[in-house]
């Protein structure tokens, strides 16, 4: 039968822990927009709050789990994917979402990202990339653009950055996508798709740390920062096409790769069932 229920309108307040407001993010921080888009996507995906488990690491990004009205776990720096792996394997009935930062996910937690992607366990990982360590006061991150000023690169960053989406895809993630906070509806839809994918899904959100990164690099207030981020992207019309004749170095957004490899949890459980079946038969 066709589902004729009318979708309730999204009200972010339904998803926030009101007693935890006001939140601690700086005015203009992109993480707030990302949180809104995530909650909207969860709403659209009709995920039961009681079956929703949000696991976060440490950083400004990591603090977001506390604001979500669900089962929430604020874990250790760089390790949320490991906690989420145990949680999802032990409780396949839960919908497990990880919120992590660029430092959390790519520096200290880089190894875990590689292996979570390789295993392809059904977890959605939302990485908020603000190119900096916000929580600890603005030190360089693996994603800080070259030449940018941070409190540990006071004459400009000399380390190259890397592409987290390419890494996740190369390691085997079932779903990989990227979006900017400026395109909040596109971001919501991308996360919605990631939530629907069975397997490890990785979404990089290009967020902004206005208060530290923005100030240090004279990037203006949050609207300017968001516009600048957006202008680094390929034009919307060309988002998913490979051959764009102009701006070949622009970052691509939207769904970047998707594959239907077996989901790890299901594969493990069927192997275990086979072992038990053989025992019963024998």
């Amino acid at each position: 039968m066709k589902d004729t229920t009318v979708e309730a309108a999204f009200d972010v307040n339904d998803w926030l822990r009101q007693d935890q407001m006001p939140h601690f993010l700086c005015p203009g921080c992109g993480h707030g927009i990302a949180l809104r888009a995530l909650l909207w996507a969860i709403h659209d995906a009709r995920i039961d709050k009681d079956k929703l488990a949000v696991v976060s690491g440490i950083g400004c990004s990591g603090r977001l789990s506390a604001y979500i009205d669900a089962n929430t776990f604020h874990t250790t720096h760089g390790r949320p994917l490991t906690f989420a792996t145990g949680l999802k394997l032990a409780r396949p009935d839960l919908h497990v979402i990880v919120i992590t930062g660029d430092g959390d996910c790519l520096a200290i937690g880089g190894n875990h990202l590689i292996h979570a992607a390789r295993r392809n366990l059904d977890i959605t990982c939302i990485m908020l990339n603000n190119e900096i360590y916000g929580m600890t006061g603005g030190q360089v991150s693996p994603t800080t653009s070259e030449g940018r000023y941070t409190s540990t690169t006071q004459a400009g960053n000399t380390e190259p950055t890397f592409d987290a989406c390419a890494l996740a895809a190369a390691a085997g993630a079932g779903f990989v996508g990227r979006e900017v906070t400026m395109q909040v509806l596109a971001l919501r839809d991308l996360i919605r798709q990631a939530l629907g994918h069975e397997g490890f899904s990785f979404v990089e959100v290009l967020s902004d740390c206005t208060e530290i990164y923005g100030r240090k690099n004279d990037l203006g207030a949050s609207p300017e920062m968001m516009l600048a981020k957006k202008s680094e992207m390929r034009p919307y019309a060309y988002r998913n096409t490979v051959d764009v004749p102009f701006r070949p170095n622009a970052l691509r957004t939207g769904v970047l790769s998707q594959n239907e490899r077996p989901e790890y949890g299901a594969a493990y459980r069927s192997m275990a069932a086979m072992i038990r079946g053989e025992r019963e038969g024998g």
Binding site: T72, A272, R276
Partner: protein, 380 residues
């Protein structure tokens, strides 16, 4: 009828004990001399509907174990020295957030990679203090294969019912020793669990201060939507920096173990009633000491053995009483390190007896003869 007497290796006994106690999740990373625990778990868990996963490192294994336990499943990991060091940040998380879990640590030589295949007992202090900050933790130190089995069962029970991480500390000799274990001699493991919250969802506090100091745990899916964090938290589960609330939260987790000390502490004594000299030892060193006590008694020397099975919290009252009752003047602590257990014994006895250490760090187990020689010297 299934045979209840089986030849088992210490590491295997840990794995089977955990499964018997209801452990259904294991995450680990191979390291000598603990790898057999993971191997047995990988073979046995699927048969009982459990899950085994070999993670990318020890940090990840500890994280996965905590994650599984947060999901409401009994979970365990196993490792050795360097791996235990890697687990410590997340172990601290489990202490702070009161997540039940069991960590088997089969000691090897150190520091660093040390002597992987040789026996040592260098992690006595690491298991007690090996995470940042003040924390409570339980460490059980079996001295035989059957005790590895029964103490791992007890580790699961204590961890679940008290909401605290429990370390099962073996040395390489006990881990790799094969002995006959009568599985039926161990009382059937009761289906013990942590207290799961089952009251009203409205107004539920995940770290409620109850009389027994053990807050009922919110299981995801049961409707509580609690927050769990390693940050110091108020009873409501959210971070706090209010001085009184923060101090209460930290103190409760340590006071909890003091309150339940009688259930936790366990020790064995041999020939202590009239002992002039008391030996205090754990693991394989206690096995050697047992023989030394027999040999010395045969020579007419009054020597006894006190063996803590619960290493932490240290059974301090029991040791003091044993020394007082015997009127022992000297206490000898043989151990395979430069002197760790001896520090605790000195602290506990605080001048009530002369405490002497016997450390050995050459990768060989302490022999009964070495202990006996040192005891004779001390008695002279």
């Amino acid at each position: 009828m299934t045979a209840t007497r089986r030849n088992l290796e210490g590491n295997e006994a840990c794995a089977l004990g955990a499964i018997r106690a209801g452990c259904r999740f294991f995450a680990g990373y191979p390291i000598t001399p603990s790898s057999e625990v993971a191997e047995v778990m990988s073979r046995e868990l699927p048969k009982v509907g459990g899950t085994f996963i070999q993670m990318e490192d020890e940090i990840a294994s500890m994280g996965a174990v905590i994650g599984a336990s947060m999901g409401g499943v009994k979970a365990m990991t196993a490792t050795s020295g360097p791996g235990f060091s890697l687990k410590q940040e997340n172990l601290g998380y489990a202490c702070g957030a009161e997540i039940p879990c069991v960590v088997v640590n089969v000691m090897r030589g150190g520091p660093s990679t040390g002597m992987p295949t040789r026996p040592a007992q260098g992690d006595i202090m690491q298991t007690r203090w090996g995470t940042h900050g003040d924390h409570a933790i339980i460490v059980l130190a079996p001295a035989s294969v059957s005790e590895a089995y029964s103490e791992t069962i007890r580790a699961v029970e204590l961890s679940e019912t008290l909401r605290v991480p429990v370390v099962v500390l073996l040395d390489e000799v006990i881990g790799h020793l094969t002995e006959t274990v009568d599985l039926a001699a161990v009382p059937e493991a009761p289906e013990v669990w942590r207290k799961f919250a089952d009251g009203p969802v409205e107004g539920f506090e995940p770290y409620e201060v109850t009389e027994d100091m053990i807050p009922p745990m919110a299981r995801p899916g049961d409707g509580y939507r609690a927050h769990c964090t390693g940050l110091t938290h108020a009873p409501g589960g959210f971070p706090t920096q209010v001085p009184t609330v923060a101090a209460e939260a930290l103190n409760r987790t340590t006071d909890k173990l003091i309150l339940h000390r009688d259930r936790i502490e366990s020790w064995r004594v041999q020939d202590t009633d009239d002992a002039d000299l008391l030996i205090v030892a754990i693991g394989i060193s206690a096995r050697a000491a047992r023989q030394a006590v027999k040999d010395l008694r045969a020579e007419g020397l009054k020597v006894g053995l006190f063996r803590p099975v619960t290493l932490w919290p240290f059974p301090e009252d029991a040791l003091r009483e044993t020394v007082a009752k015997a009127g022992a003047k000297t206490v000898l602590v043989p151990e395979m390190n430069q002197g760790q257990l001896v520090l605790e014994v000195e602290r506990v006895l605080a001048g009530r007896a002369t405490v002497e250490g016997l450390g050995k760090v050459d990768g060989q187990a302490i022999t009964p003869d070495e202990i006996a020689a040192k005891a004779r010297e001390a008695l002279r």
